[in-house]
């Protein structure tokens, strides 16, 4: 009896943790705890745990499932013209064919290479520049109006200029990605540096920290969460801008795949390309969220 009580007292914390963190770190804990119990004791909590997990999963996926069902049914019952909107299953089938022929992988690799290079360069420019602008008032006063102007000029509006100057090859595509990614990173870094708790800076100064050490040990770590938000925004816009650039002038890449499919009236392939992009975007974002969690573990849980 006492044993059951202890166990049920522990259970809520296990469930809580699986709700906040990834379920895979809670599962071993639950498994280990249960291994010590007699079979009768562990059935009920296990069922409760599974029910809880099932409830969470279904709550989170219900809207997506409903959307996909609607997508599947609408063309089939003639709600929309199935020539232009193929059912979801047909699109998935086309995606599978593209994957098997290796074409999907080729285009994905080309696109990801471009966006990763551009994104990497943008991080390399945005973070250091943001640290300097955020820290030195004068630099900020001089550069802010120009940055404001650039930021409000949609990257895609500059695409013709990039193509004109840099040609139709890789350089212009990577450059437009760099341009689009730099601003979210730069602006978030500036905000982050401005937001560093002044008492931390004061305390660090009172300990005799030099400016470089102050940056490395106080300003940078406390800016990490906000910078990561900028990086996540940048990752999303790197894909967005790249796809658009590939649609305008390219011989390969996912943007090209989608655009070419549309022009050749291979509608299933067009939708397949779109699904591929949304999967990539979702996966990239999920990975970055994971990275963010890992690097900001010291923060109190906000939810």
């Amino acid at each position: 009896m006492a044993d059951t009580e202890v166990f049920s007292a522990q259970l809520p914390s296990t469930i809580d943790r699986s709700a906040i963190h990834s379920p895979d770190d809670a599962a071993p804990v639950a498994a280990r705890t249960m291994a010590r119990r007699t079979p009768g004791d562990r059935i009920r909590p296990l069922v409760r745990h599974l029910l809880h997990a099932a409830a969470t999963v279904s709550r989170k996926s219900i809207a997506v499932v409903a959307f996909l069902v609607l997508w599947e049914i609408a063309p089939r019952v003639g709600l929309v013209d199935s020539t232009f909107l193929v059912p979801f299953s047909t699109a998935v089938h086309a995606l599978w064919d593209l994957a098997r022929s290796g074409q999907l992988w080729d285009d994905t690799r080309v696109s990801l290479t471009r966006s990763v290079i551009g994104f990497g360069i943008a991080v390399g420019i945005g973070v250091p520049l943001g640290l300097v602008i955020g820290w030195y008032r004068t630099v900020a006063d001089i550069l802010n109006p120009l940055l404001e102007l650039f930021r409000n000029t949609a990257a895609l509006a500059l695409l013709p200029v990039f193509i004109l100057i840099l040609g139709i090859g890789e350089t212009s595509k990577i450059s437009i990605v760099v341009y689009a990614c730099t601003f979210p990173i730069l602006l978030n870094t500036i905000t982050a540096v401005r937001g560093v708790d002044p008492t931390l800076v004061k305390a660090a100064r009172s300990l005799g920290l030099s400016t470089p050490r102050l940056f490395r040990q106080v300003v940078l770590p406390s800016s990490v969460p906000t910078i990561l938000t900028g990086i996540r925004m940048a990752a999303a816009s790197s894909i967005l801008v790249l796809i658009a650039a590939e649609m305008v002038g390219a011989k390969d890449g996912l943007g090209y795949l989608i655009n070419a499919a549309q022009q050749n009236f291979e509608i299933e392939q067009m939708y397949a390309g779109i699904i591929a992009i949304s999967l990539i975007g979702t996966i990239v974002n999920a990975l970055l969220v994971r990275l963010e969690r890992r690097l900001t573990r010291w923060r109190p849980a906000s939810r």
Partner: protein
């Protein structure tokens, strides 16, 4: 006469705003002997914190000079440790790593840093909390970590800027006793800023009363309560009440004056 640990000589500090000039301190002169526990008490906005920033070397005086062991203060240094009201702990570091933070400029090995930091966490009674992050600690515990951090690099002087003001009354009293114990153990020179009269009388060997803006020394009161921790509830003794009243009388007019000038100069930035 031996050189005082700290000398404040005719120090003035004026803050120049865009449209205003605020004199925070004026002609402040004060010596603190080595090993002494000095409390500076004053109404809000009297420049107490400015005085502490000057001693910490975080800002420079407009006039006069400040000395440590007879040598002018040119900037922050590890001969002085500062404890702030808002704890100022690095949230991404554990308690232990926060205490190590001050030791990193000392050129110790990692091993020696950790050992020293543990020793000071023990001193402030946080042995079991080395691996906790600040957000996992209570306010009182955070301030203990901050005290450990300020002591760990073994400064001669401990500068404390209203360190217990944000804590609840119970925790504050506990930490006051802890601080006295630590002071007796380590024999540091302490400059403690507060706006609480009780706190000033309870902690101080000497209490300097500051006037309101601009801050000047109005009186310096020597406190002798015997051994505070021998007497049960020393705050209720007639002697304590007498000291309390003495400082209260010195402060009373100042508080009223501070409030009047606060009302008449709302737009002036607080310099407290």
């Amino acid at each position: 006469m031996t050189t005082p640990k700290l000398s404040i000589e005719r120090v003035g500090k004026v803050f120049e705003g865009r449209s205003s000039r605020v004199a925070a301190l004026d002609e402040v002169t004060l010596d603190v002997a080595a090993g002494q526990f000095l409390v500076v008490v004053g109404p809000s906005g009297c420049g107490k914190s400015t005085l502490l920033d000057l001693l910490a070397g975080l800002t420079t005086p407009t006039s006069g000079r400040l000395l440590v062991d007879g040598a002018p203060i040119t900037g922050p240094g590890l001969d002085r440790g500062v404890v702030f009201q808002q704890y100022a702990l690095l949230p991404w570091r554990t308690a232990l790593r926060n205490v190590e933070f001050g030791l990193e400029g000392k050129g110790l090995t990692r091993r020696a840093r950790t050992d020293t930091a543990r020793q000071y966490l023990d001193l402030v009674g946080l042995s079991g909390f080395a691996d906790r992050y600040p957000h996992e600690l209570s306010g009182g515990m955070r301030q203990r970590v901050a005290i450990a951090r300020a002591l760990a690099f073994d400064p001669d002087v401990l500068l404390m800027d209203e360190p217990f003001a944000a804590l609840d009354a119970q925790t504050r009293e506990t930490l006051q006793d802890e601080l006295l114990r630590i002071w007796e153990t380590t024999r540091k020179t302490v400059v403690f800023i507060t706006h609480g009269i009780d706190e000033a009388v309870y902690l101080g060997q000497r209490v300097a009363v500051l006037t309101s803006r601009p801050g000047r020394i109005k009186a310096v009161v020597d406190i002798d309560l015997g051994d505070r921790r021998q007497t049960e509830d020393v705050r209720s003794t007639p002697l304590f009440a007498e000291y309390r009243h003495q400082i209260w009388s010195e402060l009373h007019g100042e508080v009223a004056r501070a409030q009047r000038s606060e009302l008449s100069a709302r737009e002036v930035v607080s310099v407290g």
